[in-house]
């Protein structure tokens, strides 16, 4: 799996509400980009399309030139095991340890029985890998803590660690820094970009901080009301263009 993702003329409707309209978007293996837009502009739906959690109403979602919807369930599992996803609501298990939460990221790697066993009785090796990952994210000392005892920012890092433990080819992150202060947000994003570079995975992150996105990401994609507004190198995106994302959303409201 190389990790080339492609949305071809994708539309998604929920009832009579259009979440995405005729969206075209391609990410190359190892590429990093930020998705920008007001809330309700379709960022989350776009990310969920990319790992097949959301099916398109029309259009095609392709991974390495094969449609996700055409893959067998075994094949889809295999593909998904290499696509990390950090959802905005984190979807962590509150009453178990950080270790157990991060280990859950690897459940797709093995057959179901082997996966269950390695989650319940992790090997020393697995545990050390998780610990190294947490150290890298700055929360190494929280390995055995219960997740509901952690701060919002720490929980966000746990969700990131779980996705990274998948050894992903593509990492999808929905507002990965929404619950930390600006200084920490920058640190975490820089770390994600560094890891993407080091391990060669593609990173697609949705962000509400447009300034930070332009500063750190080489490519920006702007969405408004489910439509693509721009898709350009960060250097080519002007303040005026960024401002249109809010104006467009404001004009509707």
């Amino acid at each position: 799996m190389k990790g080339r993702l492609e949305l071809a003329s994708v539309s998604v409707r929920f009832g009579d509400r259009s979440a995405l309209r005729e969206l075209d978007l391609t990410t190359e293996p190892g590429e990093t980009l930020a998705l920008l837009g007001a809330s309700g502009s379709g960022k989350t739906t776009t990310l969920r399309l990319l790992n097949g959690l959301q099916a398109p109403t029309s259009g095609a979602v392709r991974l390495d030139d094969r449609e996700l919807t055409e893959r067998s369930s075994a094949d889809l599992r295999q593909v998904r095991s290499r696509i990390g996803f950090v959802p905005q609501q984190l979807a962590l298990m509150p009453n178990v340890s950080v270790l157990a939460n991060v280990l859950a990221g690897a459940l797709g790697r093995r057959g179901q029985l082997a996966a269950l066993r390695s989650w319940l009785l992790p090997t020393r090796d697995d545990e050390e890998q998780v610990h190294a990952l947490l150290e890298r994210l700055g929360i190494g000392d929280l390995l055995y803590q219960r997740v509901d005892r952690l701060s919002g920012g720490q929980q966000q890092r746990v969700a990131v660690a779980r996705a990274l433990f998948q050894e992903p080819r593509v990492l999808l992150a929905d507002e990965p820094v929404s619950s930390v202060d600006p200084a920490r947000a920058r640190d975490l994003l820089e770390l994600l970009l560094e890891l993407a570079d080091e391990r060669g995975f593609a990173l697609v992150a949705s962000l509400h901080d447009h300034g930070l996105a332009r500063e750190l990401f080489p490519r920006l994609v702007g969405l408004s009301e489910g439509r693509l507004v721009f898709d350009a190198p960060a250097a080519d995106v002007s303040d005026e263009t960024l401002a249109t994302l809010h104006d467009l959303a404001g004009a509707r409201a």
């Binding site: 790992n51 097949g52 959690l53 369930s73 889809l76 599992r77 295999q78 593909v79 998904r80 095991s81 290499r82 696509i83 990390g84 996803f85 959802p87 609501q89 979807a91 962590l92 298990m93 509150p94 009453n95 178990v96 157990a100 859950a104 990221g105 459940l107 797709g108 790697r109 057959g111 179901q112 996966a115 269950l116 989650w119 779980r162 996705a163 998948q166």
Partner: protein, 278 residues
């Protein structure tokens, strides 16, 4: 009428109560016990303050001491209740999981045909659970007493079946109420349907499941004690004998033992539950 169901329910209950009074030919005076009954009741109540520590009357030689009888009663009450509760839990958890909606959501099972089969299967298991819990422990006990005699197996089975019915229904509901975001997340990272369900749902519902298990253990303890009335060696066995013989002080020894046992288990399970749910 549709807008005030509570009011109508109250009216129906009152009318039914009045009809029952007339049909049973009840008078307020008859609900008041006879003087002789009052005296008997008074004697028994007074004995509460003086539970016996040894047999007062003549007992056949070789009869164990009163306290030894109490100890053995406690032991059997606990053993039957623990056996029944754990058996019902071990059977009820997978069955509850099997009939919960979380297991058969379209995300988990994309095939419409399979979901249809599952719906039918769930109906069967749910009805079975309803039958199991609509028959009281003591009724099951009478049934098994007739069928298998006074064996430990029949006592445990009688306590297990209604509990199993309750567990299936309650566990399914608990699992349905548990958030499914982690299950979806795990499916999204390639976990299989069963793995995602077990890892994403069970640990989260676990404290509630265990806390309910402990609560039902207390209830089963009481039922287990009452099984003694039918001849099993739990606390109710000697209680009934002493009561029939008019040995109120000895009867109270067994009653207090039951109260103490339930109180202790209640305290223990409450502290355990507080720690689980915290």
């Amino acid at each position: 009428m549709r807008r005030r169901p509570e009011l109508w329910l109250l009216v129906v209950a009152l009318v039914a109560g009045a009809v029952a009074f007339v049909v049973l030919d009840l008078h307020a005076s008859r609900l008041w016990p006879e003087p002789a009954s009052w005296r008997r009741l008074g004697r028994f109540a007074l004995a509460a303050f003086q539970p016996a520590l040894t047999h007062s009357g003549d007992v056949p030689t070789g009869t164990p001491s009163l306290l030894a009888q109490v100890a053995s009663g406690i032991r059997w009450t606990l053993v039957f209740a623990a056996g029944a509760t754990s058996l019902a839990f071990v059977l009820g958890l997978p069955m509850g999981l099997l009939v919960s909606q979380a297991t058969w959501s379209p995300e988990q099972v994309p095939s419409r045909a399979w979901r249809g089969v599952a719906r039918a299967g769930r109906g069967v298991v749910r009805s079975l659970a309803a039958v199991l819990r609509s028959i009281h422990e003591l009724l099951w006990a009478v049934l098994f007493l007739a069928a298998f005699g006074l064996s430990s197996g029949s006592a445990v089975l009688a306590l297990t079946l209604p509990l199993l019915g309750t567990f299936i229904k309650l566990f399914a509901e608990l699992l349905d109420e548990t958030p499914r975001d982690v299950v979806e997340q795990l499916r999204g990272s390639g976990a299989g349907a069963v793995t995602a369900l077990l890892v994403g749902l069970l640990p989260r519902a676990w404290p509630d499941l265990l806390s309910y298990l402990l609560y039902r253990f207390e209830c089963t303890l009481r039922a287990s004690a009452v099984l003694g009335f039918f001849g099993w060696p739990t606390l109710g066995y000697h209680l009934k004998l002493e009561w029939n013989a008019g040995d109120d002080h000895e009867a109270w020894t067994h009653l207090w033992a039951l109260v103490l046992l339930v109180w202790l288990v209640d305290r223990w399970s409450r502290s355990l539950r507080a720690r689980l749910v915290a």
